[in-house]
Assembly symmetry: C2
Homo-oligomer: 218 residues x 2
C-alpha cells in the first residue's frame, strides 16, 4: 500500500476506536492488533501516531474526563448557599461520564497523572471549594471523597454483582431472598444508591460547613 495521499489514521480516530473496544470487551481486549483491525490497518501503523500502547490508553482516559461538565464552577465565586448544588451537579456529571465507560474506571482511578483534562477537573473543584470558604485541607478531602463515591459507583454495578439465580441465595443467606431480582432494575438501583449517598454526603457537609468556618477564623 505504501504512503497514502491522505493519512488514514488520526489520533482522534484511534482514540475513538480504542474506547469502543474497551467499552464492548474490556481493558484486556484492547491490543494493538485488535485496534488496528478495527481501523482497517495493520498494527505497526499505530506507532506512527502513538509511541506506546500506554500513551493510547492515556488519551482514551483523558477523552472521557474531558467530557465532564465543569461549567458550574465557572463564571463566579460560589457563595455559602451555592457550593452544595454545584457539587451535586458536578458529581452527577462525573458519574455519568464514568458509568458510561465502566471498564476504564480502574485505569482512571489511578489518578490524574499528567493528563490535562483530569488535572483541569481537579484544579477547578479544589479552587471552587476554597473560594466558597472551605479551608484548604477540607477542600482536598472533600474533592477526594467525592471522587471515591463517584469512582466506586462507576467501577462496578452493585446490582449486577448478584447472580440471577434464586437458588444461590435461598440456602445460606437469609436476607438475600430477593437479591437475584436486583439485576432486573440494576440501573435504577445503582443510580438510586448513588443519589442517596450523594444527598446524605452533601447534607453532612452542609452541617459541617459553619463549624469549620468558625473554627478556622473565617
Amino acid at each position: 500500500m505504501a504512503r497514502p495521499r491522505r493519512p488514514i489514521l488520526t489520533r482522534a480516530r484511534i482514540v475513538e476506536s480504542a474506547l469502543a473496544i474497551v467499552d464492548a470487551e474490556g481493558l484486556d481486549a484492547l491490543s494493538t492488533r485488535r485496534l488496528a483491525h478495527e481501523l482497517a490497518v495493520k498494527a505497526p501503523s499505530l506507532y506512527n501516531h502513538f509511541s506506546t500502547k500506554e500513551e493510547i490508553l492515556d488519551a482514551v482516559g483523558d477523552s472521557i474526563i474531558a467530557e465532564v461538565d465543569l461549567s458550574m464552577f465557572n463564571g463566579h465565586r460560589l457563595g455559602p448557599e451555592e457550593w452544595p448544588e454545584a457539587l451535586r451537579r458536578w458529581a452527577r456529571a462525573y458519574r455519568a461520564a464514568l458509568a458510561a465507560h465502566p471498564n476504564i474506571v480502574p485505569f482512571l482511578a489511578r489518578g490524574p497523572g499528567r493528563r490535562p483534562a483530569a488535572l483541569k477537573l481537579a484544579d477547578q473543584v479544589y479552587g471552587a471549594l476554597v473560594d466558597a470558604g472551605w479551608p484548604r485541607s477540607h477542600a482536598t478531602r472533600i474533592g477526594a471523597t467525592m471522587r471515591y463515591l463517584v469512582a466506586g459507583s462507576a467501577v462496578g454495578s452493585f446490582a449486577l454483582g448478584f447472580v440471577d439465580d434464586p437458588g444461590v441465595y435461598a440456602e445460606n443467606y437469609p436476607h438475600l431472598g430477593d437479591a437475584h431480582r436486583l439485576r432486573e432494575h440494576h440501573e435504577q438501583v445503582d443510580e438510586g444508591a448513588f443519589e442517596l449517598g450523594l444527598s446524605a454526603l452533601l447534607d453532612g457537609l452542609i452541617a459541617l460547613y459553619p463549624t469549620v468556618r468558625a473554627g478556622s477564623g473565617a
Copy 2:
C-alpha cells in the same frame, strides 16, 4: 519427581502466593507459570487444585472479603442509636481490608457473584439495616452507597495520583500549586478523606432516619 508422599501444594498455599503476586505486581502479573514458579512447582500442577485461573482469582478475592470484621452486626438487633456506629466500624474494616490489596479491588468491585464470603457480607449488612428499622429499599441503597465509598477509596489513592513534579502543575493549574506534595503524606490524605466522607455520609443518614421511618409507617 512423580507423586510426592505428601502434597506440595494446597489450595490455601496457592491462594496465599497468588495474592502476594497480585499485591506486588498487579493483576496482569498473575500467570500460572509465575505463580507456579513462586511455589517451586511447574504450572500444570496447579490444575490438580483448581480447574481454571479464574477459579484461583475467585478464591483470592473471597479470602480478602473473609477477613472483614462483621461482628458488629452479630449478637443483637441494632437499635436506632446503634446502627450508625456499627456501620462506621464496618466501613473502616471493609476499607482496611481492600486498601491493603488495591490491585484486586477492580476484580472485587464486579460484585459478590457466587463467592461465599462476599455473599455473607452483603447478607449481614442488609439484614442489620432492615432490623434497625430502615425500609428494605433504603437498606439496599445504603449498603450499596457504602460499598461505593469504600471501593472508590481503595481502588486508587487520590494523593498518589498526582505526579511528584511541581513543574507539571505550576503552569496551567492555578490551584494545584501544592499538589505534588500530596504524595508525601498520601496515607493520611486518603484516610482523612475517607473519614470525612464517612462521617458526613453517616450524619446525612442519621438526619434522614426519622423522616423515613415516619413516612413508612414504622
